[in-house]
């Protein structure tokens, strides 16, 4: 755990002013952007490809490969996905708020590599402070000539527009984000044919990259891709930002190397369970991911392959930890309610199925469950995610619907007895939810604006 910090180093070293352009330039900022402007498109794509940088939005797809798929039509666009809405995920918030120039430099590098002259930063609507910080950073960069016409005195033009979302989780899905950016309803597009690399924003080739992904780029150029690959463990490259929340003593964002175990993450990094309670379950990669339980997964290495083999995903790095006081029916209901609320309503199985699941779970939690309800939950889930496998075989347009099924899979796999206790006892066997203290984890290291 002595790996170097990459994307959070500056904010750790200069917590008071890491978001300012002066601090950024004093610590080596915008050097790589200038360098990139002197490099060819192929050199840049090749460097990123060989660095092994993986997309940090959840899909963990090779960033360089994604770039190389960009269709030749022009204009092409770059959209930085800062619509961080997955429950439990708050890493991009910190990167946006505390090191916006790091992302802007990544935007410049991406733009040069992909002949992009118009980039958009789409920030979640509930992130006013990060958005203000990014907007201020963009303005500073414009006034220094780092953005706009002929950046850094070259003939390369780059406009950057900061856009705030309207409060929809689904706009984190890249095609829904593009629709939203175009002023349309935030509904995912059908793939094929609407792959962003071919028909994206305004039907032109578009790269959609996560904030953390883009924030890595200047460091890759600085270190060189060889050095960057040395950080890798198995097929996982670079570092990984975990947002740990829930019933741990030290919730917060942690930039970590790969290869540690869940036990180390929960008990060492995050300080162990609150009140030294018993660990009941955790969600390893955001609300969409099937849950892990201590009996099976505590000593598993945190790698994307090992997580996938165990039937879940690392996703966006959101780890939600639950102790033994947690009613899993209530937890599942809360998660399913979230997805039902956030369903765009476009496709039938998600629109109707997620709400139905929520209703059944609420009924069980209220003590009105029937013996047939568990099989019914599973069969309704099967209508959204055929076979309830992982990765899901969706009947839906996008993965939101199957995401709502993940908590149901957890109930089936590990908590059937608890469900049946609700049904047979006619009430929830666990104590009512305690008045939770507001956890300030997402503000870890945060200062005054």
């Amino acid at each position: 755990m002595s790996a170097p910090l990459i994307v959070t180093r500056r904010m750790m070293e200069r917590p008071s002013d890491s978001h300012t352009i002066d601090a950024y330039e004093e610590t080596g900022g915008y050097v790589q952007a200038r360098r990139a402007l002197g490099m060819t498109r192929d050199e840049l794509v090749e460097t990123v490809k060989s660095s092994g940088l993986l997309g940090r939005g959840g899909a963990a797809f090779s960033a360089g490969l994604k770039w190389s798929f960009l269709a030749p039509a022009r204009p092409s666009y770059l959209v930085v996905n800062g619509d961080e809405s997955e429950p439990g995920t708050f890493k991009d918030r910190q990167l946006l708020e505390r090191d916006p120039h790091q992302m802007l430099e990544g935007i410049i590098i991406t733009a040069v590599a992909n002949e992009v002259h118009h980039a958009f930063v789409y920030i979640r609507g509930e992130y006013p402070k990060p958005a203000r910080r990014v907007q201020a950073a963009v303005s500073d960069a414009y006034s220094k000539g780092y953005l706009g016409k002929g950046i850094f005195g070259t003939d390369f033009d780059l406009e950057v527009v900061v856009h705030l979302g309207g409060g929809a989780y689904i706009c984190g899905e890249e095609t829904a984000l593009i629709n939203s950016l175009e002023g349309k309803r935030g509904e995912p597009r059908i793939k094929p044919p609407y792959f962003p690399a071919a028909k994206g924003l305004y039907m032109m080739p578009t790269i959609v990259n996560n904030v953390e992904t883009v924030s890595n780029l200047a460091h890759i150029l600085e270190m060189g891709s060889d050095e960057y690959t040395k950080l890798a463990h198995q097929t996982d490259t670079g570092t990984f930002m975990f947002s740990v929340s829930g019933h741990v003593k030290k919730p917060g964002n942690y930039e970590l190397p790969h290869g540690i175990t869940w036990r180390e993450l929960i008990y060492d990094v995050a300080g162990g369970m609150r009140d030294d309670n018993e660990l009941k379950a955790w969600i390893p990669g955001g609300a969409s991911a099937p849950w892990f339980v201590p009996e099976h997964h505590l000593d598993l290495e945190i790698t994307k392959d090992a997580t996938a083999a165990a039937g879940s995903m690392l996703g966006s790095g959101a780890v939600i930890v639950m102790d033994h006081t947690t009613c899993t029916v209530r937890a599942a209901e809360r998660l399913v309610r979230f997805f039902a609320h956030e369903s765009c309503g476009q496709c039938t199985p998600c629109r109707e199925g997620t709400t139905w699941l929520e209703m059944i779970l609420q009924r069980i939690e209220d003590g009105q469950g029937r013996d047939v309800d568990l099989p019914l939950l599973l069969d309704v889930s099967d209508g959204i995610s055929v076979g309830l496998g992982w990765p899901p075989r969706m009947t839906t347009i996008c993965p939101l619907g199957p995401s709502a099924v993940s908590p149901i899979i957890a109930l089936r796999n590990y908590f059937q007895d608890e469900v049946m206790e609700h049904v047979r006892g006619g009430a929830c066997p666990l104590p009512p939810v305690a008045q939770q203290q507001v956890i300030a984890g997402s503000r870890q290291g945060g200062g005054a604006e």
């Binding site: 929809a168 094929p192 309503g345 109707e352 997620t354 047939v372 309704v380 009947t395 347009i397």
Partner: protein, 815 residues
């Protein structure tokens, strides 16, 4: 979409449920399977709209290297060697799940739902559903039903959110006034606040709704679909003649639905075509012949009325010969009726004073037989489309949809030239406004290179030019000049002249023009031998046009006028002149459904059969002959036009020898070269979409130099633009209450700047005066009307006719 496989493209081979077939590349799986006999259930997919893959009903399994994949067949294009299973256990499970999801919140009110019995949700629940619901929770509830326009109601509880209606309004009709609102389980279709779904095409959404969520007021709770009798026919409210199916019960039309076809309307209809049938059952329909006795029109017997007319006509004929007669009308009926009228005028009345053009006034040869006449389908492949004529959305709504599709979906450049904003402007590559009466001046400007961006668009491979009379102030010869000019510029130009009355082109083809004989044969050339054999000796000097008949009536030169389905007082911008002329006429005979403002001075009115009450053929603006069919008896003793004319002719001793509509159709085919081989049998059994009759001996068209007599008023003065709207005070609309109330009424449109200058406020009363009339109109202030121009819709309920002269005075009415 349903184009056959292009022979130059290698077909792909697909195996669906074990059966291999060839498909054109680019075809979607759902359509390929359907065309080869495998029906995949669906709700959101509609053949005439872009696929969206939303309902998920059409999921099928396609083999892939990673095993079978569930994909929506409506958004999955076919690929070579694709192996598809549409009924695997996984597919069936998914389809049952989707249906159970859709039914979870769907009310079980099928017994009182209009859609019951013809409902895709009902049908597919039966064929592909689980047969049972496990949903025990409380269903979604909304206020039932809410009116979203004057004609359409929305029941959001029944809605399955397939987005067919919202996509239609955005993708097809171009007036996206309904949209999804909210999200997830709370998603609903609705209108925007304070903006009703006031689309001219709203009824289409009712037709394509796969459940009973959208219903139309005229049909609501009127019938069960299995009780309806149906017949296919042609819509008779514009010159496209959209293909329709008429549904009736107990001798009343209850609804009209569009029939899908490639040739004309793709299944879409304007609300006028769809809902414009109320007049047929109006209490005001004529049921017995009326004769004037003691100054009053009174009912009488057919024999008395026919004898009266025959005797009086005989008398006038003996005294003054054929030149004392004139005939106006015939453009609303069938070709058979038009042919009978043409033959009656020439053979029995011995006159060529006959005209079906009440106000269009473009040259008959240009309208009926222009060189290079376009097919409607030529729009689909055009590089540039020029529309210089009426606002198609108002006057030719079916054609408007086709032009919009060409510009919006098929990439054609569109040039729109009109005195003010039109329904197509949002899709126009270039739009030019001009002052009413200034059409020729603008054409000269374009020809002399003052609008290079327009001329650049004309230099294209395939150009279609749609021309008609854009404004009452325009010289009617402008259209032909525009066509001639465009034709001189581009590679291949196809021309589509427009007329207002629905069967104008059929009537012209039957010779209802002063110098045309049936088959678009010029009078002077003495037609063909077949015609001479059938018609005998007929007058050979060209007769008078409608405008000339008006003058001849005033001067007493024409003594007897036949008005056949014509109302020039209302239907012509020279209406006030017609009131005087008709009062001056010695003897007026009318054949009509109603007493109207013109024939109310007639001496005899015969009650006629209308739309859906008589069988025959009709010819549309591209020359397509289609069958129009009968489903209803007419009211009372009303009769079909041709038989009335035939009876008069017989009683005059100059018979026209016509004994049935089908016999007339055979005679048309014999005597008019263009219609050779066009038989009812052919149209009934083989060519449902009709046949396009060829143009032989096409007339050259000319750029007609015109002294700019009708030039617009000086720029410092306002210029009046009078044009028609879809709904107006025409006699059929007057007796169709649901549609008549949608007419804009007496309004005057002004640009905001002009309104400010004159002192007009929205809806304030304005006095509008021309040399022909003066009246009160209510101000509508809009940006569609350019500065210096005011627009008054023609023939509105409660409006004073203003004539066609663009010189106008507008003042606020003192309060």
């Amino acid at each position: 979409m349903s184009e056959s496989i292009n022979p130059t493209v290698e077909p792909l081979h697909v195996i669906v449920d074990g059966q291999e077939f060839e498909v054109a590349p680019g075809e979607m799986l759902i359509k390929a399977a359907q065309d080869n006999g495998t029906y995949i259930p669906r709700f959101c997919w509609h053949e005439r709209m872009k696929p969206v893959g939303m309902c998920r009903m059409c999921l099928v399994e396609v083999d892939s290297p990673r095993g079978p994949m569930l994909v929506p067949s409506c958004t999955t294009p076919v690929a070579e060697a694709m192996v598809v299973d549409t009924a695997s256990p996984t597919v069936k499970k998914a389809q049952e799940a989707v249906l159970e999801f859709l039914l979870a919140n769907h009310p079980l009110d099928c017994p009182v739902c209009d859609k019951g019995g013809e409902c895709p949700l009902q049908d597919q629940a039966l064929s592909h559903g689980p047969g049972d619901s496990r949903f025990v929770e409380i269903k979604r509830h909304y206020e039932k039903p809410i009116p979203i326009s004057d004609l359409v109601l929305l029941d959001r509880e029944r809605c399955i959110l397939c987005a067919r209606c919202t996509r239609f309004s955005e993708e097809i009709s171009g007036d996206p006034l309904i949209e999804f609102q909210d999200r997830g389980n709370g998603t609903e279709v609705n209108t925007f606040p304070d903006l009703p779904f006031s689309s001219y095409f709203s009824g289409n959404t009712v037709q394509i709704c796969p459940v009973g969520a959208l219903t139309a007021k005229p049909y609501r709770f009127r019938a069960r679909p299995w009780d309806l009798t149906m017949v296919e026919s042609s819509g008779m409210f514009d010159t496209v003649h959209p293909r329709i199916s008429i549904h009736a019960s107990q001798n009343q039309i209850l609804r009209i639905v569009g029939v899908d076809n490639d040739a004309t309307n793709h299944g879409w209809l304007s609300d006028k075509d769809r809902f414009g049938f109320e007049y047929l059952r109006s209490e005001q329909r004529l049921t017995l012949p009326l004769v004037r006795r003691g100054g009053e029109l009174v009912e009488t017997t057919w024999s008395e009325a026919l004898d009266m007319v025959a005797n009086r006509v005989d008398l006038i004929s003996d005294e003054d010969g054929g030149s004392a007669f004139a005939v106006i009308g015939g453009a609303h009926g069938t070709n058979e009726d038009a042919y009978a009228l043409s033959k009656f005028a020439r053979v029995s009345l011995r006159t060529n004073n006959i005209d079906c053009r009440v106000d269009d006034a473009m040259a008959p040869h240009f309208l009926a037989a222009t060189v290079d006449r376009a097919l409607i389908s030529d729009l689909d492949t055009a590089d540039t489309i020029v529309v210089w004529g009426p606002d198609l959305k108002e006057e030719n709504p079916t054609l408007y949809l086709r032009v919009r599709r060409a510009a919006q979906e098929l990439g054609a450049d569109l040039v729109v030239i009109h005195p003010r904003g039109t329904g197509l402007d949002d899709r126009a590559t270039r739009k030019l406004n001009y002052r009413p009466g200034g059409g020729f001046a603008l054409l000269d400007d374009i020809a002399s290179g003052k609008h290079p961006d327009v001329t650049a668009l004309l230099v294209a491979d395939r150009v279609v030019v749609i021309v008609g009379r854009a404004s009452a102030a325009d010289d009617p010869r402008l259209a032909e000049s525009v066509a001639a000019y465009v034709r001189s510029k581009a590679g291949s130009v196809r021309i589509l002249p427009l007329a207002r009355r629905a069967n104008t082109f059929g009537a012209l083809d039957m010779g209802l023009a002063p110098d045309l004989l049936p088959g678009r044969v010029h009078l002077g050339a003495i037609g063909c031998a077949n015609l001479a054999a059938s018609w005998g000796d007929i007058p050979t000097t060209p007769g008078k046009s409608t405008a000339e008949i008006l003058e001849a009536l005033e001067q007493g030169e024409v003594r007897c006028l036949f008005l056949v389905g014509a109302d020039p007082v209302n239907d012509s911008t020279r209406g006030p002149g017609w009131v005087e002329a008709l009062e001056a006429a010695e003897y007026v005979v009318a054949i009509d459904l109603f007493v109207n403002d013109s024939n109310r001075v007639a001496d005899v009115i015969f009650p006629a059969l209308g739309f859906a009450e008589k069988e025959g053929t009709v010819t549309n603006l591209e020359g397509r002959v289609q069958k129009a069919n009968a489903l209803l008896p007419g009211p009372g003793q009303s009769r079909v036009d041709w038989s009335i004319l035939s009876d008069i002719a017989t009683r005059m001793g100059r018979p026209i020898g016509l004994e049935s509509a089908e016999i007339i159709a055979k005679e048309i085919a014999e005597v008019s070269p263009a219609y050779e081989g066009v038989t009812w049998d052919l149209l009934e059994w083989e060519k449902h979409d009709g046949v396009v009759v060829p143009i032989s001996g096409a007339q050259p068209i000319n750029h007609i130099p015109v002294a700019l007599a009708g030039a617009p008023p000086p720029k410092s003065k306002l210029a009046l633009h009078v044009a028609r709207t879809l709904y107006d005070d025409g006699v059929l609309m007057r007796h169709s209450p649901s549609l008549r109330k949608l007419a804009p009424g007496p309004v005057v449109h002004l640009n905001p700047a002009d309104a400010l200058r004159i002192g007009a406020e929205a809806a304030s009363a304005m006095s509008v005066a021309t040399k022909d009339g003066e009246g009160v109109f209510f101000a509508v202030i809009d940006d569609d009307t350019p500065k210096g121009v005011i627009y008054v819709p023609f023939n509105q309920p409660g409006a004073v006719p203003l004539g066609s002269d663009p010189a106008v005075r507008v003042n606020p009415v003192a309060k």
